[in-house]
């Protein structure tokens, strides 16, 4: 059982027996008023998004999803192919169902595919993934005038902001829970 203060982006809860994923979350508190937890929830089966506001005492059941360990294989258009690590069976998940997860999928990445009534409806990623920077501005060592982050593109096409010292071609760790740069990987 979850309570409202557990709500965060990516949490999966059951509403009217359907699995929903929190796609946006904001803590609000109007002056002298009560704490409110504002969410956007995406129905993981239909793809429809609803806005819901919860109060502190509200509770939720976790979405009842089966997790199957699989490996990401490749992509063809909107179709992403995964292989079940136990049965070697291949399955397809649509780009829409993947949401932000598609930003972190590199070949052979081990993920947990989420099954609802025998249908694959999404994936659970490791909290951190390593991706290579394929495009970013040059930085001259010792230049401290630019402490601000700079835009970069990683191998999956995902764009984010990274510290100035990270150079093109380097491997970085990204936190998949918020999509932000975490550290540089020493190779």
């Amino acid at each position: 059982m979850y309570s409202a203060s557990d709500l965060r982006k990516g949490l999966k809860v059951a509403i009217d027996n359907d699995p929903y994923i929190v796609t946006a979350f904001e803590f609000s508190k109007p002056g002298k008023g009560q704490a409110l937890y504002r969410t956007k929830l995406k129905n993981m089966i239909t793809g429809f998004t609803i806005d819901r506001t919860y109060r502190e005492g509200d509770t939720f059941e976790p979405a009842s999803l089966e997790e199957r360990p699989m490996q990401y294989l490749y992509r063809e258009g909107d179709h992403y192919y995964f292989m079940d690590n136990q049965t070697y069976e291949q399955i397809i998940i649509n780009e829409d169902a993947l949401g932000d997860s598609k930003n972190y999928l590199i070949d052979n990445l081990n993920v947990k595919v989420l099954m609802f009534r025998e249908k694959a409806i999404g994936v659970d990623l490791p909290n951190f993934v390593n991706l290579r920077v394929i495009k970013t501005e040059m930085w001259v060592k010792g230049d401290t005038s630019k402490a601000d982050y700079k835009p970069a593109t990683v191998e999956t096409g995902y764009e984010l902001r990274i510290p100035p010292f990270v150079q093109e071609g380097e491997l970085i760790t990204i936190d998949t829970r918020n999509g932000e740069y975490s550290t540089r990987v020493k190779e």
Partner: protein, 306 residues
Amino acid sequence: MKNWPLARRKNALHQRARIIQKIRQFFNERGYIEMETPYRIPAPAPESHINAVPSGQWFLHASPELCMKRMLAAGYEKIFQICRCWREGERGSQHIPEFTLLEWYRVRSDYLVLMDECEELIQSLAIEIGLGERVTYRGQRIHLASPWERMTVEEAFRRFTKISAKEALNQDLFDEVMVRDIEPGLGIVNPVILYEYPYERRSLARLKKENPTVAERFELYLGGLEIANAFSELTDVGEQRKVFLSEMETRQSLGREIYPMPEKFLTELEEMPPSAGIALGVDRLVMVLLNATKIDEVVAFTPEEL
């Protein structure tokens, strides 16, 4: 290892320091005396939805309000304080459990005087950091030139929603409607002063003489962000005790900790002259002035970084 997330906040923290210095200068020039009241107190103000952080047998204050008012009651006439305050569990893009509050109080004044002072303070801060009469916040241009828009809570409900403030209160939807339908639209073109709160949301404000269904309380909004909360202070001891008891009842019904009644404050309150007081969130104000979307961008460390 270099802490880059911290390094990139250098400019923001430099500007923040300038803003705080300017705030001090503003109040010093106006004859206010800077106060330092204790952070650790035995009896926080009983408020339904503000949870104090325990510190031994006592608590870290959620605001210096009660101590500041005891100073007014003891004869201090114009006082201000910039201090750290703690509120348990408040974390989001606009909340951090340890934050910086500016409070100022003046005797023989009401909340209208504070509305004017808010305008002058924020205008002078914008000039100080080179913004002039406009700030851009999340892509919106907010014009700071006086006069600012003043809207009653009732008007705000009429403008942004299909129900009245009264109906929202009766249906227990006041906070939800406020957060979802009203607040995001406040302070987009000009700063907005939202005033005359319904009796039920009076907090520590006195009721309006000509219309006791509303309280002399206002909140200041810039770019949809709540920046400050002000009162013509409640000085009637009996009334104040009733408000505290009702807040305690709400706390009890929600299963929250009940704090000791602030008896020393109540005893001294009868000596407090008619006064006005305001609490302004410094981190939030810095966010607006520096166009930061998250409070994390304008503080030295977030709790998660410690």
